[in-house]
Symmetry: C2
Subunit: 456 residues, 2 copies
Amino acid sequence: MSERLVVIGGDAAGMSAASAARRGRGPEELEIVAFERGNHTSYSACGIPYFVGKDVADAGSLIARTPEEFSRKHQIDARTGHEVCSIDLDRRAVLVRDLKAGSEAWEGFDQLMIGTGATPARPSLPGIDAEGIYGVQTLDDGLALRAALEKHPRRAVIVGAGYIGLELAEAMCASGLEVTVVGRGEGPMLPALDADMAGLVTDAVRSFGMTMLLGESVTGFETHDGRVSAVLTGQRSIPADVVVLGLGVLPNTALALDAGIRLGPSGAIAVDGRMRTSAEGVWAAGDCVEKFHRISRRAVRLPLGTYANKEGRTAGINIGGGYATFPGVVGTAAMKICSTEVARTGLGEPEARDAGFEPVSAVVESTTRAGYYPGARPIRTKLIAERGSGRLLGAQIVGEEGAAKRIDVLSVALWHGTTVEELINMDLAYAPPFSPLWDPVLIAARKAWDKVAAIR
Amino acid sequence: MSERLVVIGGDAAGMSAASAARRGRGPEELEIVAFERGNHTSYSACGIPYFVGKDVADAGSLIARTPEEFSRKHQIDARTGHEVCSIDLDRRAVLVRDLKAGSEAWEGFDQLMIGTGATPARPSLPGIDAEGIYGVQTLDDGLALRAALEKHPRRAVIVGAGYIGLELAEAMCASGLEVTVVGRGEGPMLPALDADMAGLVTDAVRSFGMTMLLGESVTGFETHDGRVSAVLTGQRSIPADVVVLGLGVLPNTALALDAGIRLGPSGAIAVDGRMRTSAEGVWAAGDCVEKFHRISRRAVRLPLGTYANKEGRTAGINIGGGYATFPGVVGTAAMKICSTEVARTGLGEPEARDAGFEPVSAVVESTTRAGYYPGARPIRTKLIAERGSGRLLGAQIVGEEGAAKRIDVLSVALWHGTTVEELINMDLAYAPPFSPLWDPVLIAARKAWDKVAAIR
């Protein structure tokens, strides 16, 4: 007998699940309907800063698949402009509002996949609803911001010095605006980076001609005729024609919570390894669920597109009658601001302490290619290891072109519980255009091992 | 009481060992003398093609440390122009010839480190000793070849289509010569690459305007007034003003063998994990020793600079009174020819079969960055896995800028015995400037796992 899968959310997690479920079960076995409240399905949210900064000319190129493609190629009925307002587990139905028509209807399901994602934090500060203040989460947000830049604003203020904030700072800078980044913490990208590595990012951002204000909280916005004119912090007023909010995101859990589905200790939806929620036949994946961190061994919220896709695929394989598990994360992430590349994986020093480890760390400066080879760029690599065992706990990289993706070596090593001693002899590729003879990662491992092995 | 360490060979293995031994034991405890028959110590042999092709202007920048630096900074007495002619294990002495003075003398040792390296194969073909035929192993070879290019030769023939051959083909091409590469095998870089991946390299080389002749063995050289004028194969005569030999290398084992030191099944010097040879107090490292291959579980000859450095360091730590082991290799290597990057690790399909595995493979085409991001370049990734277990056995990558170093992820995964199923969910870094959302490595893992899991 045919079943019906309802998917809430038409982005990475939801549509990955839908596609994987379809691979497992054909249309005669499984009807799939996906509801997306926005106007687009399956687009690269991570690409929005590059669309805003015009590295990517056309918003269409960020869209992996349109609803028409899902329908035609996969027999998946993806309905944009439809918001799910409620889940009724007893009736096995969701209440769906057609945002254009303004009508509501109950849609029944046998299996339910929750991919509601996360929403950017938007603190209730005076003036926050003024014109000229942009969040950047959806493609529509990106379109609005890029349209605003066509009016040649002069000064941009980025509120928040995390990944998205810095990527948007690059986009604003590339568009010729004077850019000020305001961050609450003592460095950018905390706690993803340790303070010493964050300091390198601060130096880089300033060297690109941007202003970076740290340890300042935004208290409100000055407005003029309903438009933002300045950003206020405890210390100053920063004139602004455009403001972009990059304050992180919060998981969209209300629908699940209201339906009685269990949240985990991190505050996101709790799932098992197969992406099942606490409710029978209800699955969840992506930014709205918590993940198991393989190093801290805790449930964490880490809203990254790679996890959403992998988790969605896992849920979909299971919904489609297969078997798959998602084995957790080690917290790998990377970003670029202008010519500076930043990457991290595992735990930073404070995070390691917080998780009960006694960390030692080593930082080395090297180059991305053999020092004598054209295009060799600086790379600074930090490794964090456990004193006593020498087990690798985390790594951070700040450098220039060719630096960031080296973090993957450390991610895979972390995944396997490798010690920095073992890492020293790992068989990494060498040729002068690609690396110094001793890869920076291996030099860092040598230095970290010397520290691990030393008497305090 | 003070001991004396004699090092044979002043390059990667020998001087890494000397330096590491010095870190362990100061000059009052350990006297260190290194004999090098060439004119230079510790230079990047891998950099020679880039010096020849003028990416590197100055030969001096390839030299990591001069004998003067070893003497001043490390109290290591490194003597160039000194060849060790014989090892007498009973007398605990080596016979050393001063190549300039023409004199010989016995030098005693307590510990002996053999880092004699390897010598390029130079088949005894008619005409091989003609002027204009170059081997490229030592820095002096590189200087000679670069000097030859100053005379504006027109046509270069590279004999051998392996790593060195192709790197030198790039150098010749960059110097404006018409280049023909002649390879004995049906593809370049066999058996390091499988035939399908080698085919991509052939296509690339030809697209750069070079001629690639495959399946042709060189039978001799035509000469004119003592200078080479053409390269002869069974099929044709190829006019040549400059010929470069890139036919691989053979380990220099004669000294060790004559002294009664045991060779291993691969024909190179046998060592244990600490780099001890079969003779008490005699250590060896680098191209002259065999390595344990962690995937085939066989002793292999793999003359790579990274191994020489790591093995030398291992020997030196042990000589210096510490403890270290070299845990073997997985056969990772990378090279660039013009804009094409090539990398490999582990076993290819024929190698896997030969080692007793039943391999399945998957090849995927993707891009080095998000498809919509500027500078995204093609990358083809091949994974080889064991049918049944799904264990990763090897990987090969051919692509453009940003492709090759991705092999390291697979090298570390191989090292740990990872399956392609587990690889699918590895936490690799993503941001549009660095990778598609699904990293090419992970897409390949998905495809390989589908094949592993399928009924035949």
